[in-house]
């Protein structure tokens, strides 16, 4: 028999359907150009350290000591590590007998899970059970595990905001479920529109879809909006009435750049509501060390917390978690450190506090610089980045630009972003990667380039944009 290699046609249909633009076409083109020697500014992914943000000192000291415990025996260790880092390294090494190289429990080191529970309790004012907290290799793995557990077949629908971080759409495709979109209202600063959501649900149900869960991303990605307490109550009531599990992606909870709507966890609002709803609405909350002011994406540290999930269901989720044996131990330690950072009075506190504040203050300034910068460009309208790490300006493309794009076989926003990349080296993600209303185009960029580089970047963008708009302006307007 002649050998026939594996063809594209022979692959799992669900995999073929998956789209994940964040590391897709634009990113690959940017990488190619970088190889050719062009200077690229990667703003396609929320990857702070890659754009020059320095890691916080204290966690790195602790983890380095945990990586190489022989250091603790060296007489000179006190010269290069502060006493509290040394103490904390011993604390984690005691929790991880065998060190960082040993598998932990599949759900994560019990001591770290306890630290997560204590953090949640301090944050929300309600007790949290470490047994219902699972550590994962980044929040993405936890999201995938939960969706894998929920989706039975193509008739299971998951409510996902549009625009959304495409991990959700990709995972739903991969597991063979149906994505049921609910549109955020751009005119209302990307606010929640429950009327639209109910319409979506009704339409899906009339097509035979059973809606199983609702995803919220708070603060939002790519949109950055922070949900108000009233919004969260509405959402929780909705989930209660419609019998949906709420999947609350709260990975950007430390990234809030306005004071009107500070972060409140879905769990806190749920428990504040009291009564039967607080005991019955099923909630899974996700967090990570990749974002916030820590930005330790490369460590792959995350967790999910289950609320009101029945014990037998938790057991089944444990099964899924245990196939991968254990989440990486250094990532777990980063999570523990994030959950219980240096406190006032600790030797490392002043430095930690200064480093953290400096990063957060700068992010707040950069959010403003970018929003203002985009709003100063022709045909560009940008909502303020209330939170998270991105700016998601709307690009009002002239008809001629759209026609040119389509005749080149590209979506208009992809076309625009490729041109932007080639002209300026700024690598963004077209809005179509996140979902947007028909005929309305956006791009996503991060607010992460160094503050001192921002003015040059925004001016380079403006130069490109304004000349692009000039080039493609509608003749009828002349």
């Amino acid at each position: 028999m002649g050998r026939k290699g594996l063809d594209y046609e022979d692959l799992n249909e669900n995999v073929k359907k998956v789209q994940y633009a964040v590391r897709g076409e634009l990113y690959l083109r940017a990488s190619e150009l970088q190889k050719e020697g062009k200077r690229i500014i990667f703003t396609n992914v929320g990857n702070p350290h890659a754009l020059g943000q320095k890691p916080l000192t204290f966690p790195r000291q602790v983890v380095a000591l945990c990586q190489a415990p022989f250091l603790l025996d060296d007489p000179n260790v006190g010269l290069i590590f502060p006493a509290d880092a040394i103490a904390r390294a011993k604390h984690y090494l005691a929790m991880a007998p065998g060190g960082l190289g040993a598998y932990s429990d599949s759900r994560g080191i019990p001591g770290v899970r306890k630290e997560v529970a204590e953090f949640i309790q301090r944050r929300d004012g309600y007790p949290s059970d470490p047994e219902l907290i699972y550590l994962t290799d980044g929040a993405s793995k936890g999201v995938m595990q939960m969706l894998n557990a929920i989706i039975r077949n193509g008739r299971d629908g998951i409510l996902v905001p549009v625009p959304q971080y495409p991990l959700y759409s990709a995972a739903i495709s991969l597991f063979g479920g149906s994505l049921v979109p609910y549109y955020l209202d751009e005119e209302a600063n990307w606010g929640l529109d429950l009327v639209n959501t109910r319409q979506s649900v009704a339409a899906a149900r009339s097509n035979g879809i059973t809606i199983r869960a609702m995803v919220i991303i708070n603060p939002g990605n790519p949109t950055g909006q922070c949900l108000s307490e009233a919004n969260l109550k509405e959402i929780l009531n909705f989930c209660y009435q419609e019998n949906l599990v709420l999947l609350a992606d709260e990975v950007y909870q430390q990234n809030v750049y306005q004071d009107e709507r500070p972060f409140i966890s879905s769990r806190k609002v749920l428990f504040d509501m009291g009564g039967p709803i607080s005991r019955e609405v099923q909630l899974v909350s996700f967090h990570t060390v990749s974002k916030g002011y820590w930005g330790e994406c490369g460590q792959r540290g995350g967790y999910f917390e289950m609320t009101n999930i029945p014990p037998k269901t938790v057991d089944e989720i444990y099964k899924v978690a245990s196939i991968a044996l254990s989440p990486n131990v250094p990532g777990q330690i980063f999570m523990g450190l994030m959950m219980s950072p240096p406190k006032p009075g600790d030797i490392s506190y002043p430095k930690f506090a200064t480093e953290s504040k400096s990063i957060l203050d700068s992010l707040r300034r950069r959010a403003q610089i970018m929003t203002d910068g985009f709003n100063s460009c022709r045909n560009v309208v940008c909502n303020f980045t209330e939170g998270a790490m991105y700016s998601f300006p709307q690009i009002r493309l002239p008809q001629r630009a759209m026609d040119t794009a389509r005749s080149a076989g590209k979506e208009p926003d992809v076309f625009y972003c490729l041109k932007l990349l080639e002209a300026t080296g700024i690598s963004t993600v077209p809005g179509s990667g996140f979902g947007q209303k028909e005929g309305v185009f956006h791009l996503r960029t991060t607010i992460l380039p160094a503050e001192e580089d921002m003015p040059a970047i925004m001016s380079s963008f403006k130069k490109f944009n304004d000349s692009f708009m000039e080039q493609y302006q509608d003749y009828s307007k002349l």
Partner: protein, 488 residues
Amino acid sequence: MSPAPASARALTVDSLNPKVLALADHFGGAIARRAQRMQEMLEKDPGSYPFNEIIYCNLSNPHSLGQQPNKFFHEVLALCDYPHLLHWSVTNSIFSSDAIARAREILDLIPGRATGGYSHCQGTEGLRNTIAVGIASRDGFPCYAEDIFLTDGAAPPVHMVMQLLIRGEKDGILCPVPSQFLYTSSMVLCGATLVPYYLDESGGWSVSISDLKKHLDAGRSEGITVRGLVVVNPGNPTGQVLVGENQCEIVEFCRSENLVLIADEVYQENVYTDEKKFNSFKKIARSMGYGEGDISLISFHSVSNGYYGECGRRGGYMEVTGFNSEVRKQVYKVASLSACSNISGQILMSLAMNPPMVGDESYTFYQEERGRIILLLSQCAEAMVQTFNSFEGMTCSKAEGAMFVFPSIRLTKKAIAAAEAMNTKPDVFYALRLLESTGIVVLPGSVFGQVPGTWHFRCTILQPEEKVQLFIYRFKAFHEAFMGEFHD
């Protein structure tokens, strides 16, 4: 609208993905949970059992049993995690000079020296280059960084491969019996049909091509499209190292039957016999003259085993060769959903593929560490094989490689009846009794699959030197008592 009653809440066991429900209980779950409870009781009340500790032989987790990590690797990892150390002169008196040099090299390979940033989703290119060079020098054939995907251990890439290849339940994968649950679980989760092939216990657990063909044909006659063949070499739980000729037969078989060869080679640095040598399937295929266009091959390795045993870091790679670019794009796409694997694990994988060389400051110490660990594993393996072979009703194949022994036990009718009366499989019954009498935790063969009517258990060879004799003493006492109790 009134809410649905609590019993009909969205996420109950009845409404979960049936594939998740179908997953077999993990790690011979009953035994692991029992051991955990016994440990808790012993901690509260040391006198509660006729032994004072639980001896975990169920999972290969070397550092948890006292195996020391490699100093050079840990020095480099610490320096990469906290590069400030490289600015201070006192560092030179604490860290070896080659670890310092290597850390600098590695940091230079990482864009922005940012070990906290996401890397390229296949892993940092420079580290993949290092690994590719290591693979090329291992095999004597070229290896390319673009074929390498760095992963969080060996489990995620196995899932990825299954997701790619399996379209539905009419797709199957040929999987060895016995086989570790990673493969069986992944298949259940993907909805694939597991097409078993039986390793030949009397032939040292070799792969019989006629058995492969028999099961492949049987699968096909039931309408299953068999997409790939999993081979684990060195074997888990069986510990055999395949001979070159057997590997050639397997390569030919995959070519002629149009199967993707999925080669799990995570134990490649655990070989305890001079009579056998590890050869990667890539090396074998290339030596046979088969190139990119001739065979589709996915090979896995990880940092969890070898002489480094760094399971907790989740470091690994898969090398993907023999696929066209359309298919490769899909592999990349699936990999990109998890962003990237953890950087520390990537660094460690590159160190494992490029350890200290002759002349480096750390070389002597490193060689000693490595030699000692492999020797200990080999001695423990030997002691266990001899011991189990001396027990009544037990035979144990030589542990040529990997981290386990997998003895077979001939259980008497009386023992089997006693197990059935307790609604337990006979080998689970044996393993539970062993646990309760001695504190020793092993995994019953039924977790891995075995020829029906045969019984086995898997036991790791990781006991520290000073504990081996105690282990043997306790096990022997238990086994003699058990065989006496259930004498037909």
